[in-house]
């Protein structure tokens, strides 16, 4: 199941998570900064849990360092799936 996820699917899943976190829909996009969307470290821990549930990919604290945008988060998941 994990290896079949496409980049678009993962991106859409991250968008959906951000919406659940309370980010404004019109702010959400591939290059939107988490900080600008008021998404903080607690939200990112939840995002990591979602990613693990859905794609079987474990993201640790150090993996998330420097992950400041949706694009970088999706890159990270793709590289782990790779």
């Amino acid at each position: 199941m994990a290896a079949t996820a496409t980049r678009e699917e993962i991106e859409q899943r991250v968008f959906k998570a951000l919406e659940e976190f309370g980010a404004e829909t019109d702010q959400i996009g591939p290059d939107a900064e988490f900080e600008a969307m008021d998404v903080d470290s607690l939200d990112l821990v939840e995002l990591a849990q979602i990613v693990e549930d859905e794609y079987g990919v474990q993201l640790k604290g150090e993996d998330m360092e420097g992950v400041t945008t949706v694009r970088r988060a999706v890159d990270l998941v793709m590289s782990k799936l790779g």
Partner: protein, 400 residues
């Protein structure tokens, strides 16, 4: 001149609905917010009051506090921030248990899915100081901010502490009150196992047939301001927090001292703090839980503190007859109910009171509201709050 605390805004979410005046009007009209043995804040829909992010990042008890705070601050004529130095603005909000709903749901996650699946929001949601922290954050209140924890006296302790912060000069204004959301499986089972909950599901304080309290939920928030600062900004003043006192029974883990001695001392000290004589008190909002023990010892306490004669003359009623027991929110919600009753010069009723109990012979204002006798210009009343652990807190309020 000494610094005095005035009340400039109130807000409440209770089983009688959303709004402090809704509570006052419906209780005065004899309506009950208790259904099927629960006092749920059923009219409260979090998403109508809070953003998606706020809802996600708060336990229900904090959501109730946020909604009550929004009403109280608007009532006080505040915008989204204090009308003075934020660093001189404090926030003290009590709770009996805090985010027990979060604690329970996360414990299920732990058991069923493992530690890795525990929400990183668990602690910030369940902690008993979350309401004060979140309210302070939302409105930029940068002075002292903390929660008070004293079971069913917590809301009254918070308000008393707020008054002291103003009187002592530590703050010029305080957002204060109490909040609780403990209609949860564990809390219900636990209170039930100690025989504290009503089996009949009827809250009938002081009645011979009373058989325990009915669990309620909600929040009450008040805005207290230093009188001079409030008058200077042209604030509408609802009333004064004239006095406050707190004592401990040092008697039993849960049962009140049957003589009511500790509670009586709290009432006497609150009157002394306010500089008010017993015959000036025209209304007592009782703790009145509908438990066999409280209502008897509280009756004794009122008699001891006011004197048998005066105690027999003063209307004494229990808000819990209409909304159940809001635990750590009770003292705050009932302080608001007391204030609005005094303003309207009306004693709201003790509902479901039909059969007198031996020795419980005060004027409990059975079932119908009644005008308060008020020869003097000022209307002074007492609000009692007592908690498991032997905590007694009493507020003396005066309406404008």
């Amino acid at each position: 001149m000494s610094r005095r605390a005035v009340i400039t805004g109130v807000g409440a979410v209770t089983p009688l609905g959303v709004g402090a005046r809704t509570l006052h009007e419906r209780w005065t009209a004899g309506q009950s917010g208790i259904e099927d043995g629960y006092g749920r804040a059923g009219e409260f829909e979090p998403t109508e009051h809070l953003s998606t992010k706020e809802v996600r990042r708060s336990d229900r008890y904090t959501q109730l506090a946020l909604a009550a705070a929004a009403e109280a601050l608007a009532d006080a004529g505040w915008d989204d921030a204090p009308p003075g130095d934020p660093e001189r603005t404090a926030c003290v909000i009590g709770t009996g248990i805090g985010g027990i709903g979060t604690l329970e749901s996360q414990h299920i996650v732990l058991r069923e899915q493992g530690a890795e699946r525990i929400s990183p929001l668990s602690i910030p949601l369940l902690m008993a100081n979350a309401a004060s922290g979140v309210v302070a954050m939302k409105y930029d209140l940068r002075g002292q901010s903390f929660g008070t924890v004293s079971a069913c006296a917590a809301g009254a302790h918070a308000i008393g502490m707020a008054e002291r912060l103003i009187r002592h000069g530590d703050a010029d204004r305080v957002v204060t009150g109490g909040s609780e959301a403990a209609i949860t499986p564990l809390a219900m089972a636990a209170f039930s196992r100690m025989d504290a909950l009503s089996e009949s599901g009827v809250s009938r304080p002081f009645d011979r047939r009373r058989d325990g309290f009915v669990m309620g939920e909600g929040a009450g928030i008040l805005v207290l301001e230093e009188e001079g600062a409030a008058r200077e900004r042209g604030a509408r003043i609802l009333g004064h927090l004239r006095g406050y006192a707190s004592t401990s029974d040092a008697h039993h883990l849960t049962a009140p001292d049957p003589t009511g001695r500790g509670a009586a001392r709290a009432i006497e000290l609150a009157l002394g703090d306010a500089g008010v004589a017993p015959d000036e008190v025209i209304y007592v909002n009782a703790h009145g839980t509908s438990t066999p023990l409280n209502d008897r010892s509280e009756t004794e306490a009122i008699k001891a503190a006011l004197g048998e004669e005066r105690a027999g003359q003063v209307p004494v009623s229990s808000t819990k007859s209409a909304i159940g027991h809001l635990l750590g929110a009770a003292g705050a919600v009932e302080a608001i109910a007391t204030l609005l009753a005094l303003r309207d010069r009306i004693a709201p009723p003790t509902l479901n009171y039909e059969e007198p109990d031996e020795g419980l012979d005060l004027d409990y204002v059975p079932n119908e509201a009644r005008p308060l006798q008020n020869g003097a210009a000022r209307a002074v009343g007492l609000c009692n709050a007592f908690g498991f652990g032997g905590h007694n807190a009493v507020l003396c309020l005066e309406a404008e």
